[in-house]
């Protein structure tokens, strides 16, 4: 039994291969990386300090010298190899059943998809394959193709290693709704937009709280969106997906009561991010609410190792805006886009939003997947 009708099924051996990819990632995350963190932050950084230098400031040069060490290059290459092994093994599993998946998507009714054959993905998404996913978010073979959606969905459960709601990967969606309940509990959204919805992991969760609302999701890839529609429908949610750039959509002004984005802003750019806020502002009716969820990382508070690790993420996991996003004052950007009552802080991750739950939004940060960074405001 899969978690929903569109999730690719794994054979005995494919399941074993996936489990092994998770083990490899666990080894890297829990065994090797903490050793580097310990060496760089607890051993080297104090030595720099004793010599009157700031290792965190020098992180780029330090990283270049670390790369002379065989052990460091091996760690880097192993991390890349594990990520590529994940995509390869998931890709093979999906390809084996792709015909079935394409057909199944068509038999599941509910919601809609609107693709645009003229659509061009922005450079920050098209220059490299983010997360090393072959083809990137925009890959689409046209027709009924759902391949990239199926690959992303299956891999996401491995990628997050169960920390984002298992195979449904919906904790971020529930966390956004929890934030809404805490801040604007009386809002009864009739139209909701999720910008950068990918396969609708968060969109579907959000839709489940507002059965009367018309829910929209936009992203850059046709295959992602076809898959997303069928996935949402198989989970009982009718969502309207369209292939659009969040910087400039074709929805009318004042069309939405709630506009959200989840883990999207760090995959944009300095110029795109403020444009997305301006567009969200245009799309909201007066009194409408905007909520953005992001990774809870701020570059200025990073230790030496965290900076070096950030550089690795940017260069070798193909997250070009990873560091840039962590240097921005997103709250200030929201204000200049016209939002009022702007709050920026941290919300505890939750698998289920509850109006009666004690509020958890604070200005105190915490680890990724335990808390999420939130920037919200009202038009």
């Amino acid at each position: 039994m899969t978690v929903h009708a569109m999730m690719p099924e794994a054979t005995h051996d494919e399941a074993a291969r996936f489990a092994h990819v998770v083990s490899l990632k666990n080894f890297l995350m829990r065994n090797l990386e903490p050793k580097w963190r310990g060496y760089v932050d607890e051993h080297l950084t104090p030595q720099f300090a004793a010599a009157g230098r700031d290792a965190a400031e020098e992180y780029r040069d330090l990283e270049r010298r670390l790369a002379k060490l065989g052990a460091y290059r091996t760690w880097q290459a192993l991390t890349v190899a594990a990520q590529e092994e994940m995509w390869r093994s998931v890709g093979q599993c999906v390809d084996r059943q792709l015909g079935d998946l394409d057909t199944r998507a068509k038999t599941i009714d509910g919601g809609s998809v609107r693709t645009d054959s003229e659509f061009v993905a922005p450079r920050y998404l098209s220059k490299v394959d983010i997360h090393l996913m072959p083809g990137g978010y925009a890959a689409d073979r046209g027709g009924d193709d759902v391949r990239q959606g199926a690959v992303f969905d299956k891999a996401a459960a491995l990628y997050h290693m169960g920390r984002n709601g298992g195979e449904l990967n919906d904790v971020r969606g529930h966390t956004i709704v929890q934030h809404l309940f805490e801040r604007y509990g009386n809002l009864q959204p009739k139209r909701i937009l999720d910008i950068g919805c990918t396969v609708g992991h968060s969109t579907t969760a959000i839709a489940s709280y507002f059965p009367d609302a018309e829910v929209h999701g936009i992203d850059v890839g046709g295959a992602l969106l076809r898959y997303a529609r069928a996935r949402s429908a198989s989970l009982g949610q009718k969502v309207h997906y369209s292939q659009q750039n969040g910087e400039q959509t074709d929805f009318p002004e004042g069309h939405f009561d709630l506009v959200v984005s989840s883990a999207v802003l760090h995959e944009t750019s300095f110029s795109a991010l403020p444009r997305i806020f301006k567009e969200a502002h245009r799309l909201l009716r007066p009194g409408g609410v905007m909520i953005n969820l992001e990774v809870p990382l701020r570059f200025d508070t990073h230790s030496t190792w965290s900076r070096i690790r950030g550089l690795f993420e940017a260069l070798h996991n193909n997250e070009p805006f990873w560091i840039g996003a962590q240097t921005l004052d997103v709250g200030a950007i929201a204000k200049s886009a016209g939002f009022a009552e702007v709050l920026a802080g941290y919300q505890n991750a939750t698998p289920k939003a509850d109006r009666a739950a004690a509020p958890t939004f604070t200005t105190k940060s915490g680890p990724v997947h335990v808390v999420w960074y939130m920037v919200s405001g009202v038009k």
Partner: protein, 122 residues
């Protein structure tokens, strides 16, 4: 690449590897490390699958249900079995990559390495 000569793109805040269009520099100019690691991880994957199949055989045998290709293919490990296999797998990985782990452990007592890492920019 790790010799990150390129600086963040000042206007857009984006950082790319110089060879960003390619898979990864580990598989080109650092082919020695990258290709080897790719093969080693692929091999550990094959071993993990083999061990999982063996474990499935043993469990089917113990349950007395008999085993053939179809029964093995149809077997889905429940969560306690998955946890056991994960544990075994983690231990296998730790043994295979022991050399890297130990090398990182040795760094803290290596004054020569520290000297290189703390070299002042020319």
């Amino acid at each position: 690449m790790s010799e990150s000569k390129q600086l963040p793109d000042g206007t857009e805040g984006l950082i790319f590897r110089e060879d960003a269009q390619h898979r990864s520099e580990f598989f080109s100019e650092r082919a020695d490390v990258g290709r080897l690691l790719e093969m080693v991880t692929a091999l550990t994957g094959e071993i993990a699958i083999l061990r999982a199949r063996l474990d499935t055989h043993e469990r089917l045998a113990a349950s007395g249900s008999g085993f053939d290709h179809a029964r093995v293919e149809a077997y889905r490990a429940p969560s306690d079995v998955l946890a056991y296999r994960m544990q075994q797998d983690q231990e296998m990985i730790a043994r295979v990559f022991r050399a890297v782990t130990e090398e990182i452990d040795r760094l803290a007592s290596d004054a020569d390495v520290r000297k290189v890492l703390m070299e002042k920019k020319a």
